[in-house]
Structures are given as structure tokens and as C-alpha cells.
Subunit: 456 residues, 2 copies
């Protein structure tokens, strides 16, 4: 079966009647529309779909999502979501225990994606240092600066833009050749910022960068944050789930010293989209930072313990129930079940790495075994491989991945992402998060790249 | 059947084993957990559940949400969500046509709830006036002030806090006794702010306030915004859907002059949670305000028309597919189907209003026929009704609604919200958004309030 039945946008618009009209359509039409929607949808559960960090489809997770849809409620109060509120409480506590915060204490929330989780962290860090910002805005505080590595996710800058901090106040710290933040550069830039009179308030370390899958050295970063009294956030949207693996969790050593962490079970734990958690070490901070005490929702004279009305610590008012699918999957497979599927994906990526690292026509973007399931490589077709003019070679190589990717989509056989990075021309970024993927699927990917790229 | 099987949080924690452990549970346990979750969940589709603005369960909407879960993808690119991206395009255009923007032109996005939609609007208004804020932050701009009515939703202040504007820079405009913003007070406060050297940049008018269901006078507000060159936003999270009704859409006259509008189909159109749209009149603004051009997601050398990669205009990175349930429901019932269900809910609320406005023991919170389905009233039990000491009477009355509400939840027969407002003691706020509700359900509610409150 195919991963994708690709059509250009204008073509897809013609393939069905998608228009909305005054009159109802027939039930037949509804079924035709559903079939067309599924036919042209990407088969994200296909074991050869490697395109994004979220792949796969867990049957218990899907059942849980269907139950969630059926319950059709909001997370703002215990009154309207008693079970889901308790399950969020239980699950966040468990996740904090796994991070290593004492007795699982702290706070947290499930938010609509890692970008929003990261934005929450930045918001909390600012409020912690300058609580008056809530009422008085940024004009009441000195110029704040945040730090993150040049390989970090774009949501850090996006959050800074939204929060009125500004993208220029996000200082990008150099990463080493494996994509890890260089702690000495971080400290240098913090000191430099202080000398300019700016106030460093937030460091976002990344546990599992989007492209390289790199883990920033959390212990060294924690030391620096402690020394300079700066909020340490760990963006573990992609790599946080490695905490579930006894074999791989050392890559996050130091996360227990962070003030907050983003962790997206919808990525490496294959929970259906969306399921992203922000975890916060200090209790009560989210509430005081975000609460507005709307009396029509958070009545103070209800009959039950109001600490379960968690809605006022959110930026959202109504909040989708994202907890049940994670909770039910966790019950169904246990921590060891998640561990097994994570370990398996990492094993597959190591297999891929070993297969291509010395293979004719391949070049690795960085040396060494992958730390996460990201394997970054160039495929050099015969026509490019032996070019002597380096400039010409790079120019040609830059076009190889986009053409192979477009052909993959047209044949519908597999999908994998590519991108340039800094001065590096377009390369493939393989990621594996679908526990249904096999060694054969990896073999197939390589054969397919060679088949589709040999004439380039 | 019951609306709720109420248990206190500690009790509910005991009623099932909700803990997460290392080992997997059996399939039997999973089924028991699912049953327990449904048993203790609130029956939000029950025709006697009047507690929130989102109620009901549409079968086509549910089927569409199940299909969405099965497709398990993200909205960021055409590459991974071709059909859903096109359907969002088609639906947003249709919604803009209904607003009355020329040829349905403009922009928009489905966001995780009305609070975030409102935050987007504020973000865009700020960027439109001071584009440098994106890079330089709030320290580069003068002190901004926003305006909204004292009855508006708390998300306006929450947004201002998050965006670094500060809650004190949100000026609350007086509302009349029906809860509508008083335009002359708006203009007075705008002029006053300018005299202080502040820069008015954003007016959020409400179309359907949360408690009273009031519609601010949009035409008069549009005149003022035009005169003072201020971004006009309409928060129609609750009342926006009345645009679908030929009978009721006049209440939003003037919305076509707004710069942006929040409209939540998950409320009055009974689309499963969540489904909230932000609509923007100016094309291209969302993109330039929010884009960060991450090259690993929004590659510029793809084979298809990149204008369909809409992800970079979002604050989120991954974004849940909220469009399909709305689109499929719209196909299944047509605009006239939504109109019929909206008209019916408004008819039910008028029935309730007529039933209680002169009934012994009831007092309306404000005079006149409801404009939306909100009916706000006090029930005065016999023991309170004839009290002569006004202070004592109000003190006693304040406690009536919470007690009746707690009893409703314990009997499980119905749920309706209550709150104080300004100097008004606790009153019931009835809202009807479930097309499955009937005249009998309204009758029942009144009987039940009297049954549960007669001894108070």
C-alpha cells in the first residue's frame, strides 16, 4: 500500500466537490467525501512514513481518542471533566517523578503542542523574575534576553515575538558539530548581555533537536543557570521521551535540575496528535502567572475541592482533552512498553546509521552514532559523486534531496524529510518514531533513494 | 438517564485504580477503565446539560472527529495534510463571505479555542501598528492600550498579560444594564488615553457575552475605531454563529467592518470540541507577523504551490486538525441546517424567558427578551422571597444558586451555571446550545430548581 496518493493542490481541489452550500448533501455524498478524504490523506501510520517526528497509530491510543471525542468536554473544571482532570493530575505527577523532581512535586499542563508549551515556559520564567509584568507589561521591566542554541526549535523565537520580548532578544548560542549547545559560549554570551545592561532570564536547552536529534549538555547548562540565577527550560518535545528508557535516559542527565520541561508524548511515544506536556518544578507559579479569576467559570462557592479546577492556570479557556489517550496507552503497555518501543526505534536508527556510514555514495552530515533516531545524510548520485568542482558539486547536491523527495511523493512509496542547515546544502533527515517500522523498511528506504536518485 | 454521577475528587480517586505503573495492565482492566471513565464523565450531550456554552453531540461531527483521529496528522503543511489544508481554506473563505468581507477575501486560522483566537487578534493588531515589535519587543513601542467592555471574556486580559502588554493596559468600558458596551464611554476613554500619551491599538467588541449573551453595538464601535484608526476585533466566540441565521444575524450588523473576528463553531453550532476560528480581513498579515521560516518544515524548494503551507502563520508548530468535523457537518446539514438548529435554541431560550419573567419567585437579572440563548435569573425560594431586610435577603439569595447547583449535581438530573456579576449576587445563567433540547427539558429545569430550592 502507498504512503501517499499525491496530487497538486489545484488538482486535488478538482478531484472532489469540496464546496459548502446552503442545502444539505445526501448521506451518499457524505460517505464519498469521507472516502476521498482518507484516500488523499497521508498514511502517517505507514511504516515507511518517516517524514515527521509524529508517526504511527497506536490502537489503544486511537480508541482512547474516540472515547475522548464521545465524551466531548473541556478541561477547565473538575465540574465538567472530573475523570480527565484527575487523570491529568496522576499523569503529570508520574512524569515529574520520571524527570526526577522530588516526590513528583511541581505543576504542569497539557497544551496544544510543543510550541505553546515552550511559550508557557518563557512566560513563567518572565513572571517569576518580574511578577509585575502581568499587570504592567514589558514597559515595567528591564530589557530581557533569552538564550537557546542555534539548532533549537523556531518556537523559542516565535514565543519571544508573541510575548513582546522580541526575536532580537533571543540570543543564539553556538552548537558543536554534533548540534549540541556549547556551554562556554552560553556563559560568554550571558556575561556579555549583562555587561550591556540586559537581564538574562531564560535559557532553553534542547533535549533532542529537530534536525540532528542532539541533546544539549544539561548538567553544564544547569551549572551556568544556577550560577547566574536564570530559569532553565528543557525543550524535550522530541527527546524527552527517552526518559522512559533505562538505556537512553542518561542523555537527559541534568534535566532534574531544570525549572521546566516540554515533553511531547505525541512524538516518540506515538500517542495520537496532540499530546504535549509542560512540566514545571515550582508549584503555584502557573496559577498566579495566568489566573484571571473569572467568576462565571471558577466559582469560589462550589461544593468540591477547588484545587481541581485547573483551568485558570492555562492560557486557553476551553482546553481539549489530550490526556486520556496517553493515560490509556500507559495503562495498556506500562512504562516498560513505552521503553520497548523507544528502544526499538533507536535500534532501527542505529541500523540505518551502520548501513550507510561507509556505503558508496553516502556522506554523513555529522560523525558518530546518532543520539536520537535522527540520521542526517547526503546521498550523492553517481552524476554528482565524482564532480571535482566543489562549488558545482554542492550546487548540484543541494537539488538532489528535493528531487528525490518529490519523486517519493509521486510514486507514493515513502516519505522522508530534508532541509539545509547553516552552510550545509540540502540533506535527508531520517527519523523513526513509529514502532511498526522494521529493518526491511529501512532497507527499502535506502534502495528507494538510490532507485529514484541514480539518474541525477 | 443522569447528566452526572457526581463524586468528590478524593472519592473518585478511590473508585478505580487510576495509577500508572511499569507493567502493562490486562485488556480487561483497560475496558474497566474505559467504562469507569465514561460512567463518571459528564454527559455533555444530555439535553438537560446546560452548564457550558458547548453542549450536545452531533453524530456526523463525531464521525468526522473519529476519522480525524484515524488520519492522525498535523496542519502545518500541505505535504502532510493535503485535504485538511484545502478544507480549511474552503471553510475559512466561506466564513469570511458570511461575515461580509468582499469576495470572502482575507485570512484566518483554526486555533485551540477562543482565548487563543482572541490573543492572535491582539498580536496582529499590535504588529500591524508597530511591525518592529516582532524583532525588538515591547521596549521599542509606546505604551499601548486596548479596550473591551467590562462584560467581555477574561481572555482579553489574559492575552494582554501574555503578550507583555499588561492587564492594566486593558481598559474596561462600561456596559449598559443589558451588558452592551456603551460607545460614548469607549470614545471618552480612547480620548483620555491619548491625552495621557498612550496609544490605543485594539478594541475588542463582544458579540454574545459569556454571562448576559449581549451583543455590543458593532456599527457604533466601528465608527469610533475608524475615526481613531484602531484595530477592531469582534469576539464572536459565542455569538458569532448567529451569522448563520437570517433571523438573528442583524445582531452582528457592523461585523463586516471589523479587522478580525473570533467565531467558535464548537459553541452554538455544536461542532465537537475544539473548533475555533480567527478570521482576519487583511491578507498576508498573519504570515508576516508570525513566520520564522524554519527551513526543516517550510522548505522553499518543494514541488507544489507553497502558499498552501500555512503552518508558519500559526503560533503553534504542530496544529491539531479541527477543520474536518466542521466541514463534514456543514456538508451534511448545509447552512440552512445550522440555521435551523440555532433558531431552535433561540426559540427555546425565549420560551424560558416568557415562562419565568412573571413567574412567582423569579426575578430577571436584566429586562427584555434575551438576544442570545442566555437567560439570567434569580430564583427566590419562599424563605428568601418575603424577607424585608434587603441586606439579609441578598446575603441569603447569594447562597441559593450554589446550593441548588450542588444538589442538581448530587441528584444528577441537570446542570446549569451560576455566578455573581458586579454587585449582583449569584444568579443562574441558562444557556442553550444543544439542538437536542426540548420545551420539556426547559420545563423540567424550572421544576427542578423549585424542587431543589423550596426549603432554602
Amino acid at each position: 500500500s502507498e504512503v501517499i496518493d499525491f496530487h497538486y493542490p489545484n488538482e486535488l481541489l478538482q478531484r472532489n466537490n469540496w464546496e459548502l452550500s446552503d442545502e444539505p448533501e445526501t448521506l451518499d455524498d457524505i460517505l464519498i467525501s469521507c472516502r476521498a478524504t482518507l484516500k488523499y490523506a497521508i498514511k502517517t501510520a505507514h511504516p515507511r512514513y518517516f517524514n515527521q517526528l509524529s508517526t504511527g497509530l497506536d490502537m489503544v491510543g486511537l480508541a482512547a481518542d474516540w472515547l475522548t471525542s464521545t465524551a466531548n468536554t473541556n478541561m477547565f473544571t473538575y465540574e465538567v471533566a472530573p475523570v480527565f482532570v484527575l487523570l491529568e493530575y496522576v499523569t503529570l505527577k508520574k512524569m515529574r517523578e520520571i524527570i526526577g523532581w522530588q516526590d513528583g512535586r511541581g505543576d504542569g499542563i497539557f497544551s496544544p503542542g510543543g510550541a505553546i508549551s515552550n511559550m508557557y515556559a518563557m512566560l513563567l520564567a518572565r513572571y517569576k523574575m518580574f511578577p509585575e509584568v502581568k499587570e504592567k507589561g514589558m514597559s515595567s521591566v528591564p530589557r530581557l534576553v533569552a538564550f537557546t542554541s542555534e539548532h533549537s526549535h523556531f518556537s523559542i523565537k516565535k514565543g519571544a515575538a508573541a510575548l513582546g520580548i522580541g526575536t532580537e532578544s533571543v540570543i543564539c548560542i553556538k552548537a558543536d558539530e554534533r548540534g549540541k549547545m556549547i556551554p562556554s559560549d552560553l556563559e560568554r554570551r550571558i556575561i556579555e548581555a549583562k555587561q550591556k545592561g540586559y537581564v538574562p532570564f531564560f535559557v532553553s536547552a534542547t533535549a533532542g533537536t529537530t534536525v540532528y536529534g542532539a541533546f544539549d549538555p544539561l548538567m553544564a547548562i544547569a551549572d551556568i543557570c544556577k550560577k547566574h540565577d536564570i530559569w532553565m527550560h528543557v525543550d524535550g518535545a522530541w527527546g524527552g521521551s527517552l526518559l522512559m528508557s533505562r538505556k537512553h535516559r542518561w542523555k537527559l542527565n541534568g534535566v532534574e535540575r531544570a525549572n521546566s520541561m516540554t515533553w511531547n508524548p505525541h512524538k516518540m511515544m506515538a500517542v495520537p496528535l496532540q499530546c504535549s506536556a509542560l512540566l514545571v518544578r515550582e508549584e503555584g507559579l502557573m496559577q498566579s502567572c495566568n489566573q484571571m479569576q473569572a467568576c462565571y467559570l471558577f466559582q469560589q462557592d462550589k461544593q468540591y475541592d477547588l484545587s481541581y479546577d485547573t483551568g485558570d492556570k492555562a492560557l486557553q479557556c476551553g482546553r481539549h482533552v489530550d490526556i486520556f489517550k496517553l493515560w490509556l496507552m500507559w495503562r495498556a503497555k506500562g512504562t516498560i512498553g513505552f521503553e520497548a518501543q523507544i528502544d526499538k526505534c533507536l535500534e532501527l536508527s542505529e541500523y540505518l546509521y551502520n548501513k550507510i556510514k561507509d556505503r558508496e555514495g553516502y556522506e554523513m552530515v555529522f560523525d558518530g552514532k546518532p543520539q536520537h533516531t535522527n540520521v542526517c545524510f547526503w546521498y550523492l548520485p553517481p552524476g554528482v559523486r565524482y564532480l571535482e568542482d566543489k562549488v558545482e558539486k554542492m550546487k548540484r547536491l543541494h537539488k538532489v534531496a528535493p528531487v528525490i523527495k518529490a519523486r517519493m511523493m509521486e510514486y507514493g512509496t515513502t516519505m522522508v524529510s530534508y532541509q539545509p542547515q547553516g552552510d550545509k546544502v540540502n540533506f535527508f533527515r531520517m527519523v523513526i518514531s513509529n514502532p511498526a517500522a522494521t529493518f526491511e523498511d529501512i532497507d527499502f528506504l535506502i534502495e528507494e533513494i538510490e532507485r529514484l536518485g541514480q539518474d541525477l
